[in-house]
Amino acid sequence: MSRSLTVQSILYGNEPQAIVRAAEATANSARLARADDLIGEWTLAIGDCSPTPVFDAESAAEIETLVTEAGGVFSYTVFGENLGHGGGHNRLAPLTSSDLILILNPDAQVGPDTIGRLADTVRGDVALADGRQLPLEHPKDYDPVTGDESWASGACSMTVRSVFEEVGGFDHETFFMYCDDVDYSWRVRLAGHRVVFAPSARVFHDKRLTTDADIIPTSAEIYYSAEAAVFLAYKYSRQDLVNKILTAFRNEPDDVYRRVVAAYDERVASGTLPQPLDSLGKVAQFINGNYAEHRY
């Protein structure tokens, strides 16, 4: 019997029609995966962390029709508070009981065979697999034969529910916006499972470049990625790196980095830093500010 699947997405102030279009792509991909017997029953579970719900009755009904026609079930949960990426997914996961969970960014659109390819990849000792992002492919390296990689991106990754529960889901108390996927991947690997890249499972992730081919992050993105860098180094027993990063941040003129230092100090004072893991450095990789070897 084919394994059941829940596709989970967390909204925060998204444009409804973009989500409808993404939902159509998801429903189409699930329909094809069902036809190939790669998944069985499936659910699209959307959690909404926005101050005001993204969907009105009409757009919710539109998605429900798309999902139902593809043989699935649609659920829409309004949280009424911003739980963050990992917190939202942790809250959604117990609402269903599928064998597989697909973590999918709301601004990501899957290709027709994406769900099937991921489901076909997550077998045996592979507990987590991510798709290849377009148009900007993530530069983290992978084994071209086996697909093994350091971590799987939370933009579009499929995991086995039993493993998700075994490792306790996302650490949303430590990581609000970034690196919860890196941390989840490393804990999956510490538990003895494999994390692999499935390049044939494509997903369009709406990222843009400046005319100089650069990415200009928002101030929130700068803050939360900087904060995550400190907490990830701490959690994976790299106090040497924590000290190095904090020293660098203290010397930065930009206030955003000093706020990160303050947040770390506050965690130390309140005793709320995470329990350090991987003291032998079996899975964690800190390479030139990245969490994997990068191809470029």
Binding site: P135, P139, F204, A213, Y296
Partner: protein
């Protein structure tokens, strides 16, 4: 071998009912070019009147059906556009039967709201221009863009063109394109995919420079959106005598006719392949040179109008050239100028051009008619309508 075109192979679009009779005439053998052109003009007028809601853009997507993973990437890039006011014409050129079946399967797998806006035109024979001309014949969009199956688009590719079209008049639309190195790779599961090797690089000039483009093409094909009137009214066609450089040829002829509107946005990625067959590796240096010569010869046969500022630019280039023996760094200066200075110049010049756009439009209107007529007399491909 004469090229053959099967536009009905997997045509999922339904023509307006009132056009059925006209289309049946257009598809008959033995209809003269003159009659065919006249009928096509009438058809377009009817379509304009009857629909009034042509899609903004027709995307001509060339493929040869050899590797299906890249075309899946290409279609996903289109399916995810923020502006969905477009149709897709996949021109399957010289595919094997299994390749053509593969392309059809890929199209059939797309979500319904996207699939219904995709048509497949299967073309056998001819050069790289042949599928483009076949696509233009069936294109309904107010603008036409070309997107090859191994490149990538950002989500605002259509949206940016659409926004710019509101103020661009009849000018070509030109956005910016990044380059990215990639090589073929067989993925787990035996899928013939690719591996990206570099971060996208902004390699092309942010603004169009006509003089530079006379030397070499600085604008990949998917940088452009061409107003349909270039083809339907002025009768431009891609030169099927060219083995390569068909994009450069059209860019030059079209930009010299109607001018260019630059978009300050990077909206696509041109993949540079390592270890894969591309037009650069398949065709010999001699073919490239011959095609380049044909492009330039054709322009040399015509009177052309250059954009404002070109006289000063040419004078400066000549000044550098004249002193090349006096200064061993002259060629370095020349190259520097080609790659940077004229772009900087073009900013104030573009402001001037906008001021004079109305005057230019009037001049161009009259001159275009003359040019089209002359070209039509020479090679029969451009008609004065």
């Amino acid at each position: 071998m004469e090229p053959t075109i099967d536009a009905n192979a997997a045509d999922t679009a339904t023509p307006p009912s009132g056009l059925t009779l006209l289309d049946s005439f257009l598809q008959r053998d033995g209809v003269s070019d003159a009659v065919s052109d006249a009928l096509r003009t009438i058809r377009e007028a009817i379509v304009d009147d009857a629909l009034g809601d042509r899609p903004f853009l027709t995307v001509l997507l060339r493929t040869q059906g050899r590797r299906l993973e890249p075309i899946k990437d290409a279609l996903l890039c289109l399916a995810a556009q923020t502006d969905q006011d477009f149709e897709v014409v996949i021109i399957d050129h010289d595919s094997t039967e299994s390749g053509a079946q593969g392309v059809r399967r890929v199209v059939e797998s797309q979500p319904a709201s996207f699939r219904t806006r995709i048509r497949i035109v299967e073309v056998v024979g001819g050069t790289r221009s042949t599928p483009l001309n076949a696509g233009i014949k069936v294109a309904a969009g107010r603008y036409i863009a070309v997107f090859d199956d191994d490149d990538l688009l950002f989500a605002d590719w259509v949206e940016r063109f659409h926004e710019a079209s509101d103020t661009a008049g009849t000018r070509l639309l030109r956005a910016q394109t990044a380059t990215q190195n990639a090589r073929p790779e067989v993925w787990t599961g035996g899928f013939e995919g690719q591996r990206s090797l570099s971060w996208p690089h902004s390699a092309y000039a942010p603004t169009f420079d006509q003089i530079q483009h006379l030397r070499v093409n600085h604008s990949p094909f998917m940088s452009w959106a061409f107003p349909r009137g270039l083809f339907s009214q002025l009768g431009l066609t891609f030169d099927e005598a060219l083995d390569v450089c068909e994009d450069w040829d059209m860019i030059l002829r079209a930009s010299l006719l109607v001018g260019v509107e630059d978009l300050p946005a990077l909206t696509s990625i041109y993949r540079r392949w390592e270890g894969a067959a591309t037009s650069y590796t398949v065709h010999s240096t001699d073919i490239w040179r011959a095609s380049e010569k044909r492009v330039i010869d054709r322009l040399d046969d015509s009177a052309i109008i250059l954009p404002q500022g070109s006289v000063s630019e040419i004078r400066e280039l000549l000044a550098v050239y004249e002193h090349k023996d006096d200064d061993r760094d002259a060629m370095a200066q020349y190259r520097l100028m080609l790659t940077s200075r004229s772009w900087r110049w073009s900013i104030p010049l573009r402001i001037l051009r906008n001021r004079f756009v109305r005057v230019r439009g009037t001049i161009l209107h009259n001159w275009n008619r003359l040019h089209a007529s002359r070209s039509g007399n020479r090679d029969g491909t451009v008609q004065n309508r």
